[in-house]
Structure formats: structure tokens, C-alpha cells
């Protein structure tokens, strides 16, 4: 690992100041992406800005028609929260499928979404529920947030503070985990809020998480498994690696989308 200095600010403003001022600075949340990457020398920040001492960044509450989750909220807290289970059970289910129990005790939602790993689970929930990502500077609709592999709309000194997930009528997440890493080989999140239908896919796209508008249009006519019968996504644009070919992933998208709709309407 390369050498670094660390800082433990107590407010978001201080953290943002450090990010802007210090050269090659990086935020540290749960550390379950950043520390492994540093161990492999794939990242070598000179300054680490630990978020754990900042008040008010974790917690779960209902505000009006949204479920609000602080950026530093750990996966296990989302997975076991009675508020999440009551309001958006699919989100609690998704969090319970991330990695393993020890990873869920440390990793945070903010870290996962900021990292935007193409095989991560939370990006599918953000896009699949139409979440709003609230930073220290602005409110970013999830449709404008995910920009490609490990790329987001975040500016270098921008910090995610919380997430607003609109309450939906129906939602489900179905994941086909990579048997070794537990990350999603493919994962599909579907939701229905009035006439707003969303189908978001993680793990499959060569450019990261994406929405399947053809599936959404079909589900607008009737939100049921039958509406997706015979529908597929183009193989072009799917990623391909030792874990699965583009054809295989395209096939899984169709299968998992039908299973997700079945689960959401069960």
C-alpha cells in the first residue's frame, strides 16, 4: 500500500474543504472498496478523509412520500430496518444480498453508489426506483447520475449526503450472483409507481447500470409477466468476460426481469 495521511472531519463542510484543498484526496466511508483497491495498489490517495466522525450522515426515515437514507448508512442497517421493510421491502432485500454479513456490517450505501461498480447492487435500486441523490451541492436525479463504468456525475469535491427513494406501489429485485464474488453477474430491479414503470439492470451493460425502455413500455400496458414474454435486450452493449458472454447476459436480463415482475406482483 502507498503511504497516506488521514483526516477525520466532523462536518460535511470540513470534509468538502479538505477534498478541495488536499491533492489526491479521497473520502473513506466503509472502506470495503477503497481499502482492497489500495492494498492492490490500484489506488494510492495521498490523503484519506474519513467520514465516520461526521454527525447526521447515517439513519433511515420516512419524509412525506420518500424513504430517506443517509449516505453513511451501512448495508446491514438497510437490510434489517423495519422502516425499509415496511416502505420499500425490495430495497431491504437488495441490501441483504450484498456480499456477506461482514461486508454488510461495514459497507455503506453512499460508498457503493459513488463507486458505481458495474456489478454493484445499489445503482440498480437508485435507477430502478428513480431515487434522488442529494449531495453537499445539489440534488441529482438518478437518471443523470450514473455515467459509465465507475463514472458518476459527482464533482471531485462533491459528497453524497443522502438518498431519497420515492415510495412505490410495487417493486422487486432479482439477482444472479457471481458464485465466487457475490457481486451481481446480472441484477434486475423493477418498480411501479402509478404509471411510472422502471426496469433497471446492473451487471450486464458494458457501460454500467441502465434502464430497459422496451420492457418499461410493455409493462405500462399491463404490469405482469406476460407483457415481457418474448422480449429480449440486444446483445450489442452487453459486457462479456470470463464469467459470462454477452449473449448469456442478454438472456439473463430477460429471465431475471420476468422473475422480478413475478415477485413484484406476487
Amino acid at each position: 500500500m502507498y503511504e497516506f495521511k488521514f483526516h477525520r472531519p466532523t462536518t460535511v463542510r470540513q470534509a468538502a474543504g479538505l477534498l478541495a484543498r488536499q491533492e489526491e484526496a479521497k473520502l473513506l466511508a466503509g472502506g470495503h472498496t477503497l481499502i482492497p483497491t489500495m492494498k492492490l495498489r490500484l489506488a494510492g490517495p495521498k490523503h484519506i478523509i474519513d467520514m465516520s466522525q461526521i454527525e447526521g450522515l447515517s439513519g433511515i426515515e420516512v419524509k412525506g412520500r420518500s424513504l430517506v437514507i443517509g449516505a453513511f448508512t451501512r448495508h446491514d442497517e438497510v437490510a434489517t430496518s423495519s422502516i425499509v421493510k415496511e416502505n420499500i421491502p425490495a430495497l431491504a432485500e437488495l441490501a441483504s444480498l450484498i456480499g456477506d454479513p461482514a461486508v454488510r456490517h461495514r459497507g455503506t450505501i453512499g460508498g457503493s453508489v459513488a463507486n458505481n461498480d458495474p456489478n454493484a447492487d445499489y445503482p440498480a435500486a437508485c435507477l430502478g426506483l428513480g431515487a434522488t441523490i442529494v449531495t453537499n451541492k445539489r440534488r441529482i436525479p438518478s437518471d443523470d447520475f450514473f455515467k459509465g463504468l465507475f463514472e458518476t456525475a459527482l464533482e471531485p469535491d462533491e459528497i453524497i449526503v443522502r438518498f431519497q427513494f420515492p415510495k412505490v406501489n410495487k417493486a422487486a429485485y432479482v439477482k444472479f450472483p457471481n458464485p465466487a464474488s457475490r457481486f451481481a453477474l446480472v441484477g434486475v430491479f423493477v418498480s411501479k409507481r402509478g404509471s411510472d414503470i422502471r426496469v433497471a439492470v446492473t451487471g450486464a451493460g458494458s457501460n454500467g447500470v441502465f434502464r430497459v425502455t422496451a420492457f418499461e413500455e410493455a409493462l405500462k400496458k399491463r404490469f405482469g409477466v406476460k407483457s415481457l414474454e418474448g422480449l429480449t435486450v440486444p446483445v450489442d452493449g452487453m459486457s462479456s468476460d470470463i464469467h459470462g458472454s454477452a449473449e448469456y447476459r442478454a438472456h439473463l436480463v430477460g429471465v431475471l426481469a420476468r422473475r422480478a415482475v413475478a415477485a413484484a406482483t406476487a
Partner: protein
């Protein structure tokens, strides 16, 4: 260098370490508590699992300074020195749940955490799902799963099995 202070197995400890020092290195190399193992470089094997404030976590994926002030329990702290084994340790012994023993400290620390979260009556499916973060290269898991089910039951009756 940076000063760290925490409680390990009930004892206050301090150290002056390079900021890069991982919790597992602090435990093994500074405190000489070598029961916690390192089995991988990728945060996947679980040989390094300890309890941080009563929750299972990978000590290879946590800097020592991140747990400033925290309560850490390692495999050495589950039972009293020279006293009887913790019921989960005893269950691993009884059920022949180890061969080389490399994964065992992490397995046991994860197992105790599973019981705290999921209760004393664990079915095979739950145990297997909950063990996703612990890899064993020897046993094929069958006896580990049996041991955890038995240890979970034994913990119900044991005064040693309270939450951290």
C-alpha cells in the same frame, strides 16, 4: 505514525502505528494475538473475522485507526484463558469441523455473530447462506455447518455466550 487506542478482549490497549496498519496487523504484529489469520488479499476469505463493537467484520479491510475507541473481540477473547472453551469452539471440536484449522478462528467468530443475529435455532440453509464470507479449503463445509447448528443450541444455555 499515529496513536491508536482501543479495547481488545476486555483490555485497554494502545499503539503507535503507521496509518497503513490494518486492524489484523495491529492484532497480530503489535499485540501478538496471532489467532486472527490472513488468508487472502482481496477481502473474500473471512480468516480475519473479529467482532468490532459486537459485529463480525474483516480485520484485513479496516485500518487500526478506524476503530479508535472501539471494543474488539478476537478468537482469543471468546473464552477465559485456561478455562472451558466457548460453546461454539467446543462444537467445532466435537463435530470435527476443522482440518488444517486455518479458517477456523474466522469461522467461529462469524458463527457466533450469526447466532447473535439469527438466534439459536439455525437451519442448514441459513447457516450456509450466512457463511458466504468464510472460505474453507479443507473440510467441504459439512461438519462446519453441523458444528454451527450444535454450537448455536449450546450457546442458548451457556453463560459465556452473551453479546459483546
Amino acid at each position: 505514525m499515529t496513536a491508536v487506542a482501543m479495547t481488545v478482549n476486555g483490555k485497554a490497549v494502545t499503539g503507535d502505528v503507521d496509518p497503513r496498519t490494518l486492524l489484523v496487523q495491529f492484532l497480530r504484529e503489535h499485540l501478538r494475538l496471532t489467532g486472527t489469520h490472513v488468508g487472502c488479499d482481496t477481502s473474500q476469505c473471512g480468516a480475519c473475522v473479529v467482532h468490532i463493537d459486537g459485529k463480525a467484520a474483516k480485520s484485513c479491510t479496516t485500518f487500526a485507526w478506524q476503530v479508535q475507541g472501539a471494543n474488539i473481540t478476537t478468537i482469543e477473547g471468546l473464552a477465559e484463558p485456561n478455562g472451558p472453551l466457548h460453546p461454539m469452539q467446543e462444537a467445532f471440536r466435537e463435530n470435527h469441523a476443522l482440518q488444517c484449522g486455518y479458517c477456523t478462528p474466522g469461522m467461529i467468530m462469524s458463527a457466533v455473530d450469526i447466532v447473535w443475529r439469527k438466534g439459536n435455532d439455525l437451519d442448514e440453509n441459513t447457516i450456509r447462506h450466512e457463511l458466504e464470507g468464510n472460505i474453507c479449503r479443507c473440510t467441504g463445509y459439512h461438519n462446519i455447518v453441523k458444528a454451527i447448528a450444535a454450537g448455536a443450541k449450546a450457546m442458548e444455555k451457556s453463560p459465556m455466550a452473551k453479546t459483546a
